[in-house]
Symmetry: C2
Subunit: 374 residues, 2 copies
């Protein structure tokens, strides 16, 4: 019987977080299942909430001995109610990762020994037991580290372009556009001939995207921000935006700029603004403050959440498979991720290091190698 280490997160009803590294028994793979020995599990922004919830990490303490490997941190009373569904449960974490198939169940032999990416929600674990179906076999010569981010960012970026097509828009706007995801989206849009307006927050991010060949870049810290945004929308005809920040007026600014372009030549009352749907999907929450909508863009607008699993369900199995194939084919180019640091489990639990990856500094991207020596 194989024993593996796994990182689990537990938010206790009494008001604290316990993230623990525990020994778990690796099951025998059932029919159609495989065991993947994990080598590279990225720490994505989308892993933060499952890992830590609203815990106050500035007060986190790590105990790491032979007997007990536990990070604890308090959760403020006013926030604890939101966590009700997960009280007092030690839950697996880690949205995605990659490793090598070391054991296969009936009907899954073809994957034996292969390096695969997977999206399991359990990737912060030395061994993952998953259906072969959720594995993306990487091409010969692709390493686990190269294939570690085969799901969340690549499929989200592809999903934005597919959503644009499905909902009848002809160009895209993306915010926080110099992120890893934003870079992928630029490469996809350049390759596919889709106009993309990139909104970033500083000059250094403008430069990053220019180097990638981005054509439309708007710097929200610039004095000419609103004017630049209107000009980029005018040039591209973008009526759909994907918004990663969430808080503040960004979504509203974008809708306002779209409407300014759409109503530019309007004559007469134009009481309800243009008839063209202006849509912003909020897919992240880098700023957790409220979204402020000033509604100065007529009546034909929408703001809503966008979620990768829902998108995949919407397009169906076959189409999702085609997108995944593209990810495997272009994992070293379009979908290349770079990691600034590889962590052991112990490092990933260390408050000083947690502070670094929670801070989401531009360009910082960490991964855990679950099988590296702690």
């Amino acid at each position: 019987m194989t024993i593996g280490l796994q990182l689990l997160s537990n938010i206790k009803k009494d008001g604290h977080l316990e993230m623990s590294l525990v020994e778990v028994e690796v099951p025998s793979p059932g029919k159609g299942e495989v065991i993947v020995k994990m080598e590279a599990s990225p720490i994505n922004p989308s892993d933060m909430w499952p890992m830590f919830g609203p815990a106050d990490l500035t007060s986190a303490k790590l105990e790491f001995s032979d007997d007990r490997k536990v990070l604890t941190a308090p959760v403020h009373e006013s926030m604890i109610g939101m966590m009700k569904s997960r009280f007092d449960q030690s839950l697996p974490i880690g949205n995605e990762g990659a490793g090598v198939v070391v054991e296969t169940g009936e009907g899954a032999d073809a994957l034996m020994g292969k390096t695969v990416g997977l999206s399991s929600g359990t990737s912060y674990s030395q061994y993952c037991c998953v259906p072969a179906m959720v594995c993306l076999p990487l091409h010969e010569g692709t390493t686990a580290k190269e294939g570690a981010s085969s799901f969340v960012n690549p499929l989200t970026a592809l999903g934005m372009v597919e959503t644009m097509k499905l909902e009848g828009h002809r160009a895209l706007i993306h915010t926080a556009a110099a992120s890893n995801l934003g870079k992928m989206l630029n490469k996809i849009c350049i390759a596919d001939g889709v106009d993309l307006v990139n909104i970033v927050r500083k000059q250094e991010q403008v430069d990053i995207l220019k180097d990638l060949g981005a054509k439309y870049i708007v710097d929200s810290s610039s004095d000419s921000y609103h004017r630049d945004l209107v000009a980029a929308i005018q040039a591209t005809g973008a009526t759909l935006a994907f918004e990663a920040i969430g808080g503040g007026q960004l979504a509203s600014d974008i809708l306002g700029a779209m409407e300014r372009v759409l109503s530019k030549d309007a004559v007469g009352l134009n009481t309800y603004g243009s008839e063209t749907l202006k849509q912003v999907y909020i897919y992240g929450g880098l700023d957790v403050s409220p979204t402020i909508l000033n509604r100065s863009y007529g009546m034909v607008w929408g703001v809503g959440g966008w979620l990768l699993p829902h998108f995949l369900k919407r397009i169906g199995y076959e189409k999702a498979g085609a997108l995944q194939k593209r990810v495997a084919d272009e994992i070293k180019t379009t979908f290349a991720s770079s990691f600034t640091r590889e962590l052991t489990f112990k490092e990933a639990m260390t408050p000083e290091i947690i502070e670094m990856y929670v801070a989401k500094k531009t360009g910082e991207k960490y991964l855990i190698n679950p099988n590296a020596e702690s």
Copy 2:
């Protein structure tokens, strides 16, 4: 040649509103057109913006002589830019009304002498020339005053229920629910067996709706508001709301209460909340301040504008006709409107009276009789 009086609104580039009562030539009706002599044209909330835009009505002045019948009011410099599409154009106003067909063009003889409702955008006029197709023939015994509000409120209320069905929801929430529209919606929902949660702002509105037979009424001024809203959503399963206020946290409160019900029995991470779409359509703007969304309801939510003409286009001509037929059939019951005051053109232009109908006091509903002596 017939001459009729018509109320026109002009916002001048130089920063003021001019609403004028002018003599216009009534055209001969073309093929399929009719001339309606208007007797009752309601002043709806949706008429305010076309009439006055953002003019400062507290400084309005009326000049009403034989030569010149003009209301003027300043528009603040910071608002004038929004009015660009309508600068220096004398535009017809008045969304709907009713009157008697006094002349018919080729192929429209059947309407001669009939009392009809119409939705033309030109109803503040003694004579309207409109396609017969946009007229709703009222039943024998229905007066113009009874049929004056056959379009905006009735079709909006019916449109809410139809939208609910089209988008797969099973119950409705409505805000500012004691309005004329809100009362109609209650009557429709009771007749059709649709559960409706009414959100109102004071006890006196609770009483009005109780008298109508409303089952679910939530008073947002009550200490138990949030709890009551959750309980009503729990009881009805409502996942769709129509929001008339627009500004503030009401839309967000509703989404939060929906999610609380939907995630009540969730176990585990529940990172993105329930998978059921929670939707709020904002169809009015009684509060013009920003909409504040705290996004504490997972990722499967939407907020957007809802507009009657778009809804009618969506359902198509035949279905829209069926809804209109119901309005004509039930104009004295389900869709009965009561008016607190009937105005002449001159009265409708008088600053003291404008102040009354712009204030939107509960229960106040005015109409203009364009053919009453001024």
